[in-house]
């Protein structure tokens, strides 16, 4: 079946109508190529989310951003830094003050020997402290980047930002291939303009690279190996704190000190005991979120670099605008001069 829609001097099959001038025939061929170009661009936009597995990956990115939200505040991150400092001060004071006191008062030669769980914490604490502090510094340093990327539209919507304009373009291109419609050309221009303006409206040129920086910073954090290390460190902290709470403080009491005296002489140890449950309340959900989001991070990291995202909109948008402009400039002349153009086309 041959469609014989009129295209300003050429039918859809490109056959020149004998009565039409050569310029009009050239214009018709170019017009048809541009229509095909719009179709290809639309198909490309539709295909992109599938090629990048955005429908699977982008919602995981959205989940990650949502699940990190409760932790990504200055107050919460400062709180974690404070908690690490409380643990560190308590562990240090046990070694520097409680140990000598118990040695003198109760003849305990070595706290680490008498209380192996404390000994393990004391020996591993410098490394744990460095790791946790470095991790928190890194997260805190990316708070602004997180906020930027979280301020973008939900990642779950991202695939649709490609598919919907893609469908509009594909449809427009198919219509244009059959008939010259001013309205369709306008639609192509609007879609193109939308694609160009969307990244500007959503501040993607600043926010997307910020998200990229955050992803780079979290590369060493959101790994199964790192989370397992943190879980191991947590085990050491919990055991060691338990030894302080359940063995060493009672040993001080056995040596004759009352609770108020312990608090006065060893305030850092007292503070660690007093804060421990709060520290657990605070820290374990963070470890949980880190662990749960390893696959989400990996899915997000498998997407194209964030900094490129605005260009994924702008480049097709500019191309569309150019195509629409080109067609638009020729539309009145072509339709007006086309022999056999319908009244509708002339309008």
């Amino acid at each position: 079946m041959v469609t014989t829609a009129r295209l300003g001097g050429a039918d859809v099959a490109g056959r020149a109508i004998a009565t039409r001038p050569a310029g009009s025939r050239r214009s018709g061929r170019a017009y048809r190529r541009l229509s095909v170009f719009v179709i290809v661009l639309g198909a490309g936009l539709i295909a992109a989310p599938f090629a990048f597995q955005m429908f699977q990956r982008a919602p995981k990115g959205a989940s990650m951003l949502t699940e990190f939200k409760p932790f990504m505040t200055t107050a919460r991150l400062d709180g974690y830094q404070h908690e690490i400092a409380v643990i560190g001060a308590g562990v240090d004071q046990v070694g520097s003050s409680v140990g000598p006191y118990l040695q003198q008062a109760a003849g305990t030669a070595s706290l680490a020997g008498a209380y192996p769980s404390y000994g393990q914490l004391a020996s591993q604490w410098p490394a744990i402290d460095q790791k946790m502090t470095s991790l928190l510094d890194k997260v805190q340093g990316n708070l602004g980047n997180y906020r930027d990327v979280a301020a973008l539209p939900s990642f779950s919507l991202f695939p649709w930002f490609f598919v919907i304009p893609g469908i509009l373009m594909l449809g427009s291109g198919l219509v244009l291939l059959r008939r010259r419609r001013t309205g369709v050309v306008v639609l192509v221009a609007v879609v193109g303009l939308g694609l160009v303006l969307a990244p500007v409206a959503f501040q993607m040129f600043s926010r997307a690279p910020a998200g990229g920086h955050m992803m780079t910073a979290f590369r060493d954090i959101e790994t199964t190996a790192n989370v397992t290390e943190i879980q191991d460190d947590f085990s050491v902290m919990a055991s060691g704190q338990g030894a302080i709470r359940l063995d060493i403080v009672p040993a001080l009491e056995s040596a004759g000190l009352s609770q108020p005296q312990i608090a006065e002489r060893f305030p850092a140890v007292d503070a660690l005991d007093a804060d421990w449950i709060h520290i657990l309340n605070d820290m374990t959900p963070m470890i949980g979120a880190m662990s749960d989001n390893v696959p989400n991070y990996q899915a997000m990291a498998a997407l194209p670099p964030f900094a490129l995202f605005p260009w994924f909109f702008v480049i097709p948008g500019v191309l569309l605008l150019g195509a629409a402009g080109w067609i638009g400039l020729r539309l009145p002349e072509s339709t007006a001069g086309a022999a056999g153009a319908t009244e509708e086309e002339k309008r």
Partner: protein, 232 residues
Amino acid sequence: MRRIVSIAFLAALSFAAAACGGSSTTATTTGGQALVGTFTLSPGSCSGSSPTGTYFRMITPGGSVSKGPFFSNPDSVCPDKTYTLATPGTDGGFLTGSYQPDPTPTFSSDGSSLAGRIVAPQAFTAINFGISTNPVDPQTRLSVPAPSISVSNGQLSGQIEAWSASWNNQYFNQGSPKPDGSHPGLTSPVSGTYDPTTRAYVLTWASEVVGGPFNGFTGYWHLQGIFEPRSS
């Protein structure tokens, strides 16, 4: 016509049997006898050379059920603090054929579990954990059946998908199989022994924690006690 009458008769018979209930042991599809009632729990003890009664251990990621390494609970009363002993809760143990849900609220202000029907809440690194079975698993949000255990030739089997530990304002499914029917990592089927004369039982299983701060850890559960059939 005769076929319809036969089917109606069988249906009526089945309905009557179900309505009468009362029987605590019924044949299962696997050929064993379902034990419906309360698996009362003997308190855990570390007095012997190895722990007895009801206890729990947590295996760290990459470990094995037999060799560990195990998470050390400083609040354990055992010399080997990798064993956390349990004492029976207000129901005396766990029920088969029905749920023992989390209370509302489930947690105290410090995150300690208030779920105390199956076992009395036990301290785990300063915060109490509790056990419950709920129609909807609180961690995975999946519907799960009530626990069911059956015996065949003195060997116990079954499912305990709904077994849920609550600790520090968080939930950890500790069932086997897991609520989606899988057996990830070291998760092992429920198994054990049952003496029909004394009704003494031992039930064990392992269940990997999936998700949350203890993701990849595995809980090993050793339950021991006497089975009390549900009275008719």
